[in-house]
Amino acid sequence: MTFETIPFLKSMLSVAGLSGYEAPIRDVVTPVWQELSDRTWVNSHGSLHAIRYGEGTEPRPKVMIAAHMDAIGLMVTGIEDGFLRITQVGGVDPRILPGQMVMVHGSNSGESVELPGMVVMPPAHLLPKDGKSGPLPQKYLLVDSGLRAKEVNKLVRVGDVISFATEPCELSGDTLSGHTLDNRASVAATTVALDLLSRRKHLWDVIAVATSQEEVGGIGAMGSSFDIMPDFAIVIDVTFAKGPGGGDTVLFDLGKTVPITWGSCVHPALYNAMKATADEYEIPVARDFAPSGSGTDAYDVQVAQAGIPVVELGIPLRYMHTPVEVVSIKDIKRAGRLMAEFISNLPLDFMNTVKWE
């Protein structure tokens, strides 16, 4: 099986896998990671682990790559005349919701049934005064599956999850749009790294982790870090790219750099080592400032057990947490290559260099 980035990424963007409900995405990643590793297993929170044994003598040091695979989405809170009332799973700006294509994962019939639907905005006369022109709070939005009330009642119940169903789409200039590129772009980059490592020597054990429940607080990463207790970890997640409405924080162009996080959640020695590797292989990088934290799995990894040194890479992404996020494929491949070069160059005594001054 040859691994190809774009088809694999598109297949990941075509399935659900909300926080706590990662089975659909795990089932897509598992066979690909099985091919590229010695062993895979699923931990107690549903994170997928894949280990590639290194060539060093035992006991070998180990590095963990953590990329979360879970998606933000919606959940059914009520059913009225065949329409579904909803709440959110993870951070969703309700302003993006009206007119959004979704998939309802109905469970009321005893088996899981996928019902395509859409988020709809009721007409003004059915809303309170503030709903006529302002942004509609999510409590007033509904999901319509096109089915009649009787059928909906048979198939759907409160608590069923609703995923975004926007189809992935290749845009100009080697860019791609879709839902949940946060953070399946990083799962793709991690897979690029595993693919490269499968064809070169590495002394260290490498454990790739597609973590669960990042969007609700780094839950999967906590357990995986504890389980694996790596010598250090690479966390990879998306970061903000320049684009319309981007805001005034530091932002990255698409297709230009691999951002490396600089701030409280990363170990400066690891930052320096990663930067040095990037310079050596002429991979353009930039500093992504996260003074008090990056809002990713990095925190949950660094505080596991007695503490784990972390280095964090980013993939620039436009329109984060909308179903039309945009990434550059080049950025994914570069981040994957940087991780592979870094890991394959790790000497067995590397941790001796990860010191505080």
Binding site: V92, M118, G146, L171, G173, G245
Partner: protein, 365 residues
């Protein structure tokens, strides 16, 4: 007055593979008001084998005449608009980013976070939004205005599209159980129905089919089409809102306009036209005789091509029949297949039994 005409052939509309194919092409076509070419091409393709006369007029309307047989045939104009609401690119604003304006009535709240397609080549793009992580509470309490949004076609995309191009949501037609979901069912269902009526044209009338342009901008195409045809009767086939959703607070919803599953919506009065009483009666009596469910569209605002047709020349008795549809002018509307087919069934049955006596002054009018 409403007597079944002997020579009308039996016609049972269905949505088989061929029909669904046509409807898919129609709904997925990009034909924003003022640029209806894609739908015009489909109409020509579908009708080229028929024994009809067909031309495109000065405004871009496709005008098709099917002559019936027999004496004293009524000239019946049936209109369906080809155009849809959408957007136009107005200014390049960086690599692959474009400012745009909205064409027709689209609520800006429907635009955010949607995939779109641009121009005749359907170049894919997206309308993004600032990441929620970077927004303030104050920002989230404001609607994102159109002038703050951009269509993003990707890096180097400025070579693929240009300002002046039209754009629409890139929603594909889908069958969801008993329903259809598509971006331009307003009014490609009407276009589809008019094509079917021409393919199964009743012989007792001259069917003057107008595939109109720029309805969404004020019934412009229908105005000149009706002048050209100079018909005895005018009928607009369109889509009308089904606001049959639950009230946020559980109250009753008496002002639903129409309801899905209620059948074709017959117009008594909208913002543009008082439906001709004789024609309304003819439609409702036909529906009852044929056991076709129907509903009155609740009298109210809005308008169809009938609003232009009925004021043409010395006046044309006119009426509208619509397929009830939820979520018009959004990324996707939704209709029931039954309502769509019943609308076509009603129109065919009604036209087949039409006689000149319908134009006699109505008693008690």
């Amino acid at each position: 007055m409403a007597r079944k005409v002997e020579n009308s052939k039996k016609y049972s509309p269905r949505l088989g593979k061929q029909e669904l194919d046509l409807l898919t092409r129609l709904s997925n076509a990009l034909a924003v008001s003022g640029d209806e070419q894609e739908v015009r091409e489909i109409v020509y393709e579908e009708l080229s084998a028929l024994d009809v006369s067909m031309h495109t007029d000065a405004m871009g309307n496709v005008l098709v005449k099917h002559e019936g047989k027999g004496a004293d045939r009524l000239k019946v104009m049936v209109a369906a608009h080809m155009d849809e609401v959408g957007m136009m690119l107005t200014k390049e604003d960086g690599d692959g980013f474009f400012e745009f304006v909205v064409i027709g009535g689209v609520d800006p709240r429907q635009l955010v976070g949607k995939p779109v397609m641009v121009g005749r080549k359907h170049v894919p793009g997206v309308i993004g939004a600032k990441a929620i992580h970077l927004t303030t509470k104050e920002e989230r309490e404001q609607v994102l205005k159109v002038n703050s949004l951009r269509i993003d076609v990707g890096l180097g995309g400025s070579k693929l599209v240009e300002i002046g191009d039209r754009a629409t949501f890139s929603t594909s037609l889908a069958v969801l159980g008993p329903s259809l979901r598509g971006k331009a069912l307003d009014d490609r269902l009407g276009v589809f129905n008019l094509i079917q009526l021409l393919k199964n044209a009743p012989e007792n009338i001259d069917l003057l089919a107008a595939f109109t342009v720029q309805e969404e901008l004020g019934l412009r195409g229908a105005t000149v089409a009706a002048y050209h045809f100079n018909p005895d009767i005018g009928i607009a086939m369109d889509s009308t809102p089904a606001n049959d959703l639950p009230h946020f607070d559980g109250e009753a919803n008496p002002t639903h306009n129409t309801k899905l599953d209620g059948g074709p919506a017959i117009y008594l009065m909208d913002g543009a036209t008082i439906g001709d009483r004789r024609l309304v009666k003819w439609l409702t009596e036909t529906a009852d005789a044929e056991k076709i469910p129907w509903q009155y569209r609740q009298p109210g605002k809005g308008g169809t091509d009938a609003g232009a047709i009925h004021k043409t020349r010395a006046g044309v008795p006119s009426v509208s029949v619509s397929v009830p549809q939820r979520y018009l002018h959004s990324p996707a509307g939704m209709v029931r297949i039954d309502d769509e087919l019943n609308t076509l069934r009603l129109m065919h049955a009604a036209l087949s039994r039409l006689e000149r006596s319908i134009l006699n002054p109505q008693e008690n009018n």
